[in-house]
């Protein structure tokens, strides 16, 4: 098995690494909190340069799954691989290739934007000089160069999210996980973040797993995984999932699959 391209070369090679290993592979993963079963035999893949939406209600098991992938919980049964690296056996290699945006804000509010980025870079062993260069570049890309020295506390919700995404990209991961990243944002900020992430997929070949309960964030070309009460009910290209459910759109498909009531406006 060939290992993924060295991190330093990633940006110069927008094409994804060897096709052998998916960016993320979830293989028969089950998880229980005591007697309560949160995930049951969950399996799916995220391919490099693809946008995979993980669609589920609150409590469907999305956060548990994220905690397993990021090694916050130990895996009870099944396997999680990131570009072929088993997260339990070789967490170092796996986590190097992974960038995460958690649902709760995880920035140091009293530190500046740059300080937050430098701290994250240090956690990945990126030298100070390199880290400063990358931070400046990423801040430019998210349009916050002028705010580099201000405290994170003074940013808007949308700006914080953009900063968190920039931070998750600092160590140039090839798989990006986002756990309901648009929650609590206004329409404009939401649209900005979605288009930014989609750009990362198309231009840099990053594999994205995007957990959401908002249908309008999913496009027909995306891969879709429907998670409900800890089980995968359907997966595949969105158009196929919708067609197989005998529905016209994702909204109806989801309703048919889960028996859930949807609210007007596209959310669950």
């Amino acid at each position: 098995m060939t290992s993924p391209a060295p991190i330093a070369e990633q940006r110069e090679t927008p094409r994804p690494g060897p096709a052998a290993a998916p960016a993320l592979s979830i293989d028969s993963v089950s998880h229980a909190y005591g007697p309560r079963r949160a995930l049951m035999d969950v399996s799916f893949n995220v391919q490099p340069a693809s946008f995979t939406a993980l669609l589920g209600l609150n409590g469907a098991g999305k956060s548990t799954l994220f905690s397993l992938i990021t090694r916050l919980f130990g895996i009870q049964s099944g396997r999680v691989g990131i570009f072929g690296h088993d997260i339990s056996k070789n967490p170092g290699e796996a986590l190097r290739l992974l960038g995460v945006v958690f649902q709760p804000r995880t920035l140091d509010l009293d530190l500046s934007l740059t300080q937050n980025l430098l701290y994250h870079a240090a956690l990945h062993g990126i030298s100070r000089r390199e880290a400063a260069a990358r931070s400046a570049e990423l801040l430019g890309r998210i349009g916050l160069t002028e705010r580099a020295g201000s405290k994170v506390r003074d940013l808007s919700g949308g700006q914080m999210r953009r900063l968190e995404i920039a931070r998750a990209l600092l160590h140039r991961p090839r798989l990006l996980l986002l756990d309901e990243p648009t929650v609590g944002l206004d329409v404009k900020a939401r649209a900005d973040i979605i288009s930014h992430v989609r750009q990362l997929v198309s231009e840099q070949g990053i594999g994205v797993l995007w957990a959401t309960h908002l249908f309008d964030e999913i496009l027909p070309g995306d891969d879709l995984v429907v998670l409900h009460q800890g089980k995968v009910l359907a997966q595949g290209p969105m158009s196929r999932v919708v067609a197989e459910a005998g529905a016209q759109d994702v909204n109806t498909a989801f309703m048919r699959l889960t028996g859930a009531q949807t609210l007007p406006g596209g959310g669950i």
Binding site: D27, F73, D86
Partner: protein, 282 residues
């Protein structure tokens, strides 16, 4: 799913990457500390209250005989100074543990734990960072105490450093171990009552142990068994350029035990996240 290979050997991390990570964590902890000016002030005021008020009132009550490492009769203030230095570190260790619980509730902890470096090493860096902060506090205290006639030999300021690092690590890892068991922030009051106060009072910080022995032999044994007593004695002797070997052995052993315990408790397949996020796991 064929993606996962059977031959998957870790590439490991270079020495430089380890050092970058360590300096980054210490740097951030220092920045955070500087931003919390109240924390610095209260960390300094607490021992000074003991020194200026408690010791001044108490010196007439308690006579101190000549006990090692002291070679002459000493003022009570001089006697409790090492105890107060250890107290600063005790509070700091517990406060870092509090901030870890806070970080965990707020999600900041996740940033640390998704670093690809080995988790045990990350926690060790965090401990070193907390210890570094406690050193700042202790030396600031010593500076002020110097004007209050607490004047150990100048070389003592240097020889006490390794003792302070070791005791800082011990108290920090104890705090970390405790923090892994705390589910919520509010429980910190319990830590005050059940950890900080008993450890501080049942130790040689405020009174020589032979005095305690006269009063209650049982309490004496308790004090002798208290690792905090040995942290105090280690610091006391080191401040006068001497080594208390028993205390050194106790503090070193406790540091290792607490640290292993804390790293074990923060292992993903056990403690931390499962308890913290799932709640009521018990």
């Amino acid at each position: 799913m064929s993606g996962i290979t059977t031959r998957d050997t870790p590439r490991g991390f270079s020495f430089q990457e380890y050092m970058t990570c360590l300096t980054g964590i210490v740097w951030r902890e220092g920045l955070r500390f500087l931003h919390q000016r109240e924390r610095f002030v209260s960390a300094l005021v607490r021992p000074l209250v003991w020194l200026f008020i408690f010791a001044a009132g108490f010196r007439q009550v308690l006579g101190i005989s000549i006990i090692p490492p002291y070679e002459t009769y000493i003022l009570y203030e001089v006697f409790i100074a090492p105890g107060l230095m250890a107290m600063i570190q005790l509070f700091n260790g517990m406060q870092s543990s509090l901030s870890m619980v806070y970080d965990r509730e707020m999600g900041n902890m996740r940033t640390l734990l998704v670093s690809p470096l080995p988790r045990g090493y990350l926690l060790f860096c965090k401990l070193l960072a907390g210890t570094a902060v406690s050193l700042l506090q202790v030396y600031a205290f010593l500076l002020i105490a110097w004007f209050w006639d607490i004047t150990p030999p100048l070389s003592g300021y240097l020889t006490v450093l390794p003792a302070l690092i070791l005791s800082g690590l011990m108290l920090g890892s104890l705090g970390m171990l405790i923090s892994s068991g705390i589910k919520q922030l509010e429980n910190f009051a319990g830590v005050m009552n059940f950890v900080i106060f008993p450890m501080f009072f049942a130790s040689s910080a405020l009174y020589p142990l032979w005095r305690v022995q006269e009063g209650s032999p049982y309490l004496y044994y308790l004090c002798e068994a208290n690792p905090f007593t040995h942290a105090v004695e280690l610091i006391r002797f080191a401040l006068y350029g001497q080594i208390n070997w028993v205390s050194l052995a106790v503090v070193a052993t406790c540091t290792i035990v607490f640290m292993i315990g804390a790293i074990y408790a923060y292992d993903p397949s056990r403690g931390l996240a499962r308890r913290g996020l799932a709640g009521g796991e018990g």
